[in-house]
């Protein structure tokens, strides 16, 4: 390196005094480049080691394990794509996929409807409304598994508060988490409760950006509330709604904590979703669990790419 600088220096001094200054500058820049390079790598190494060891390496392992049959104790046996073939023939996994999508769609519909309604009602900056916004955000920050257990108690058919409240309205008690039909809906209601505050806040942020003149103009033209909502509010919120949709889908695909503590995927396979499936098969079949992980990864990847493509179109 020093030789190189000397050489370049000789080359540059040919032009006289002015170049000497340039030589000095070059020394400084070269020195700075070198320290930048060293400091840069030095500062990045710890984080990169963690990322490689605990994210990228396991990710590559997921691909590899999905091609093997392995029950943790015995030997690994290479079986090609048999794990995937088995998964797509397995009625339990089929039900898991259906449940995952059903859960995603129901959570999306419920959360979105409740969030947009709440956002429309809670736009004002009055102190009480600000408190209300804080209150509906509390479910978002508390531990999912803990509140899942509290809701399990609320859902108890014998003494749970939900059946008790329903009986005031003369609705007969339901089995909720113990019923094959209602369990998935019960789990969905919980996730709506847990997440709607978050999406309300995001949507309020979007609503505040809709120019007021649009509403004024439409009102002068005699539009009513419904028309204002469907012709102005919803179209102006398009990018945000699109964001919210993809986020909700990805987080629903990854749902685990609350479902596990409430039903463990049961009764039967009524609430079995992707992650509970992986979690239960982890101990008896690493290969199958890895293959299912890849299916989950593929789902997340698809949504992410659709989002990237559509956001790009939005911006241009």
């Amino acid at each position: 390196m020093n030789f190189f600088i000397d050489f370049m220096g000789h080359f540059l001094t040919l032009g006289g005094e002015k170049i000497k200054m340039k030589e000095g500058l070059m020394w400084i820049t070269l020195f700075r480049k070198k320290t930048q390079l060293l400091t840069g790598y030095l500062l990045l190494i710890p984080a990169m080691v963690c990322i490689f060891l605990f994210i990228l390496f396991p990710m590559s392992q997921t691909f590899i394990y999905s091609l093997f049959r392995w029950d943790l104790l015995g030997d690994k046996v290479f079986i090609g794509l048999d794990n995937f073939k088995f998964l797509f023939k397995d009625p339990f996994f089929k039900r898991t996929i259906i449940n995952t999508f059903l859960y995603t769609i129901l959570t999306f519909l419920g959360t979105f409807t409740l969030s947009i309604a709440t956002a429309l009602l809670m736009q004002s900056e009055m102190k009480i409304i600000r408190w209300a916004r804080g209150a509906i955000f509390i479910p978002v920050v508390v531990p999912m598994a803990v509140m899942g257990l509290i809701w399990k108690m609320l859902y108890e058919p014998q003494f749970g508060a939900i059946n008790q409240i329903l009986s005031f309205f003369r609705i007969p008690p339901q089995q909720w988490l113990y019923s094959g039909k209602l369990a998935l809906i019960a789990v969905t209601i919980f996730s709506i409760w847990k997440e709607f505050g978050l999406y309300t806040i995001i949507l309020i942020g979007g609503l505040q950006k809709v120019p007021n003149e649009l509403y004024e103009a439409a009102k002068i033209d005699g539009a009513n509330g419904f028309q204002l909502f469907f012709k102005i509010t919803l179209p102006s919120l398009r990018p945000i709604i699109f964001f919210v949709t993809t986020i909700l889908m990805i987080s629903s695909f990854k749902a685990f904590d609350h479902i596990w503590v409430m039903t463990q995927g049961g009764p039967g396979n009524a609430t079995s979703v992707m992650v509970t499936f992986i979690y239960t098969r982890l101990y008896d079949s690493v290969g199958l669990a890895s293959a299912a992980s890849l299916v989950l990864f593929l789902l997340i990847l698809t949504i992410t790419f659709v989002r990237m493509k559509l956001t790009r179109e939005e911006t241009y």
Binding site: L43, L121, G134, K152, Q164, K254, Y279, L282
Partner: protein, 274 residues
């Protein structure tokens, strides 16, 4: 007519707030009641005796609640500290220094945003077995210490600080570490605060990872420990569960009340980008 409309709107808002807070009320109420009263058929909105604190006493005397609480705090605080050190350094290098391969490394970090723990938990669990990290704090903390999302968020914030500031400092003879501590960190406290609260919330509330790593009762974090509470006959012991849940929920609600804006900013940004 206008007043009627107002009343209806207020009523709807109140019912939404009621829907959000009702489970917390039941949790709090039941934590002051004996098991027989919780599972009784007659519905009541107030505990018989607010001074009934046997559930809490029982937890402190006969269960390892202090240990679990301590575990939760140790894991959350160390994971946050680790994230602060590793992610700030990485974000600083990515936003302020020039070196070959920088863009490649940054794209790798961006890519890992898509890989969530649910997708890699199988090999990660096997890795913990190989490292002998099951039932250890190392296993609970180190794998979740760095988060690509935090690096990304911090980098975006660091980029907004004008570069002229570091140029001036460099001419005055400062080195890069001075720049990081004197210019970058003081100018991005909001972003750092966001990373701290959101990471604390994630780790404090996580169930999936600690439930995989921990099998030993003494190493459990609160969410995992709460999910394990059973009466001697094997049914869920709701009296102890509600009392412990109150203890698990209170710290995060207190932090939320004081640092509300960081939570909202962090979670909404986390949701949008992660």
């Amino acid at each position: 007519m206008k007043i009627l409309k107002r009343i209806i709107i207020v009523f709807i808002i109140l019912s939404i707030v009621f829907f959000a807070l009702f489970p917390f009320y039941i949790m709090l109420k039941d934590s002051f009641e004996p098991y027989e009263r919780i599972v009784s058929f007659d519905f009541h909105l107030l505990p018989d005796k607010i001074t009934y604190i046997d559930n809490y006493k029982e937890m402190f005397i006969n269960h390892h609640i202090l240990r679990w609480l301590g575990n939760s705090f140790i894991v959350a605080i160390l994971a946050v500290t680790g994230s602060l050190i590793l992610d700030i350094l990485a974000a600083f290098a990515l936003s302020r220094l020039n070196f070959p391969g920088k863009n490649l490394l940054f794209s790798i970090i961006l890519m890992t945003l898509m890989i969530s723990i649910q997708v890699i938990m199988v090999p990660l669990y096997l890795l913990m077995i190989k490292f002998n990290w099951l039932d250890t704090y190392t296993g609970l903390i180190v794998p979740i210490m760095t988060s690509p999302f935090a690096i990304f968020l911090l980098k975006q914030n660091f980029m907004q600080i004008p570069r002229e500031l570091d140029e001036a400092a460099l001419i005055d003879g400062a080195n890069y570490i001075n720049i990081l501590f004197k210019i970058i960190i003081p100018n991005s406290l909001a972003a750092i605060g966001t990373v701290v609260v959101i990471k604390f919330m994630w780790v404090w509330g996580d169930y999936l990872w600690p439930s995989l790593v921990v099998k030993d009762d003494l190493m459990r974090t609160l969410p995992v420990a709460i999910a394990m509470l059973r009466t001697p006959t094997g049914t869920v012991s709701w009296d102890l569960l509600t009392a412990t849940s109150v203890i698990a929920v209170i710290p995060i609600i207190i932090i939320f009340m004081y640092l509300q804006k960081y939570f909202v900013k962090g979670i909404t940004e986390g949701a949008i980008k992660g």
